[in-house]
């Protein structure tokens, strides 16, 4: 079992390394397989040391691939190296990524995402292209299979998937939990007598399904239809018109206009699962867009996440804003 896991980790690391040009691959391959599972980002900036985010903290990478605490021991990234990496990651096809580059990121096979910054070329007041790229952020996509299992019994009642919202601050695992819930309800959970549901997923920033050329790279279930890189409002109406979903899933709502979209989902007799940025319910109620949604009783289940005990810690599950708390994780003092 352990050997299997280690082979899996190795092959995943190899898969990531193949996006880097040979010389850089040599540096990164020095990072041991025991360290790799804890790396979430690889960051490169022209004229700055090579950085990785390891166990949620920033560390430098030495030319031999070892992690270094001091910047002077690190490999310093040159402009031509960034050029080579961009070339390697775009398979020499800069033109094919124009649209994605205008959004500031590119999704690679495997669902990994690379963020870019550099010189912005605008046209008619909108970003058309980023050229002379100076920074890259390679975000490693990993599935966390099974993390939704404990929360699913709270979301499935009387043969119906309840309208759910996941609330959390950034980088606490909202999108990962959302993806897992989508995968589970789409595939079906016999233990909960939950048959597979048709899920329509509007993935505005290609973050949930990590689609590459329209094909989801992350497992989002067998009955999930993904609208990739599509505006939320337009995507929801398109799915309602054409795909007859039983549940609609989307990420990061909170704009004033989102309330109308969610109302229309409910009016169509469709359930939903959405996420929003907020530390807790009190903070969510301070945001006008979220407040309207929550006050109108559109949400039947509210999951609040934190990273207190690691990414994706479920702090509480509530039956809507006014309903009782169905689950609450004891605080450190209570424990």
């Amino acid at each position: 079992m352990k050997a299997n896991q280690s082979t899996e980790i190795k092959s995943c690391w190899q898969q990531i390394l193949r996006f880097f040009p040979t010389d850089f691959r040599q540096i990164l391959s020095g990072i041991g397989p025991e360290i790799f599972p804890e790396i979430s980002e690889i960051r490169l900036r022209v004229g700055q040391p090579l950085e990785v985010v390891y166990q949620k903290r920033s560390v430098w990478v030495a030319p031999n691939g070892r992690l270094a605490e001091k910047a002077e021991d690190a490999h310093w990234v040159k402009a031509e190296e960034i050029g080579k990496i961009v070339n390697a990651m775009t398979a020499g096809s800069f033109y094919a990524l124009e649209e994605e580059l205008a959004k500031g990121y590119v999704t690679l096979p495997g669902g990994h995402r690379v963020g870019f910054t550099g010189h912005v070329v605008s046209e008619a007041g909108r970003i058309r292209l980023i050229r002379n790229i100076s920074s890259l952020n390679f975000r490693i996509a990993r599935a966390c299979l099974g993390i939704a299992r404990p929360v699913l019994p709270f979301l499935w009642k009387d043969g119906r998937f309840l309208k759910t919202m996941i609330l959390s601050p950034p980088a606490c695992g909202k999108t990962t939990l959302l993806r897992e819930i989508v995968r589970e309800i789409s595939t079906g959970v016999p233990e909960l007598e939950l048959p597979g549901l048709h899920v329509g997923l509007v993935d505005e920033r290609s973050e949930i399904a990590g689609s590459y050329q329209g094909v989801p790279q992350m497992d989002v279930g067998m009955r999930t239809d993904v609208l990739d890189a599509c505006n939320k409002a337009e995507g929801v109406y398109l799915l309602l018109r054409s795909m007859n979903p039983e549940v609609i899933a989307t990420d990061e709502i909170g704009a004033e206009s989102d309330c109308k979209v969610l109302e229309d989902i409910i009016n169509a007799g469709v359930s939903m699962i959405v996420t929003a940025h907020a530390l807790n319910l009190t903070e969510a109620m301070c945001r006008p867009g979220l407040r309207r949604i929550l006050e109108r009783g559109m949400i039947e289940r509210l999951i609040i996440l934190s990273s207190r005990l690691g990414v994706g810690t479920v702090e509480s599950i509530r039956a809507g804003v006014t309903g009782p708390e169905l689950f609450r994780r004891p605080t450190a003092t209570e424990e």
Binding site: P21, G92, F94, Y95, A96, E98
Partner: protein, 171 residues
């Protein structure tokens, strides 16, 4: 014995004439092939925004000649994710293949120039650069066809005539 030698001489010079003539027709054939490859690249980039590895694979699949298919398949692998070489280097290597020997230096320079930009700019620029390259190659093709019409017959005739003259002198 004499007649045998005479036949051999005439045969050899005629064959040399035909080979020389073949290079003119071969250049035309290659230029036509390049024009259709560039049309394919232009539409793939301009309308479908397909990446170079996929486009090269498609060129290989559609190529009329197996040697060209092999060259583009090799280039598709070389340009794919994680390549340490730039597209211009890979393109240059592709142009160095012996299969393009019949092309003139001017044809190679036009194609080589395209390689410096291929993949590296936005799609509007890519389409413009490929179209310009096609236009210049088309001009070369017109000249090559005229040259071919004039010289193919001459080469073949000269080959035979040179052999015959040599035989007459020797006899």
């Amino acid at each position: 014995m004499r007649w045998m030698g005479a036949l051999l001489i005439i045969g050899a010079t005629t064959a040399a004439g035909f080979i020389r003539a073949g290079r003119y027709t071969e250049r035309c054939r290659l230029l036509e092939q390049w024009l259709s490859i560039l049309t394919f690249l232009r539409t793939g980039i301009g309308y479908q925004a397909e990446r170079l590895p996929q486009l090269f694979e498609k060129v290989a699949a559609l190529a009329r000649y197996p040697e060209i298919a092999r060259i583009f398949r090799k280039a598709a692998k070389a340009v794919d994710f994680g390549s340490g070489n730039s597209v211009s280097d890979i393109w240059e290597q592709l142009l160095q293949e012996p299969e393009w020997d019949a092309l003139h230096l001017s044809d190679r320079l036009i194609l080589s120039e395209l390689g410096q930009y291929l993949g590296a700019t936005d799609y509007r620029d890519q389409v413009a650069k490929i179209s310009a390259c096609q236009e210049r190659l088309r001009q070369n093709l017109n000249l090559a066809e005229t040259e071919s019409r004039k010289k193919v017959g001459i080469c073949r005739y000269v080959g035979f005539a040179a052999g015959a003259a040599a035989v007459l002198l020797l006899l």
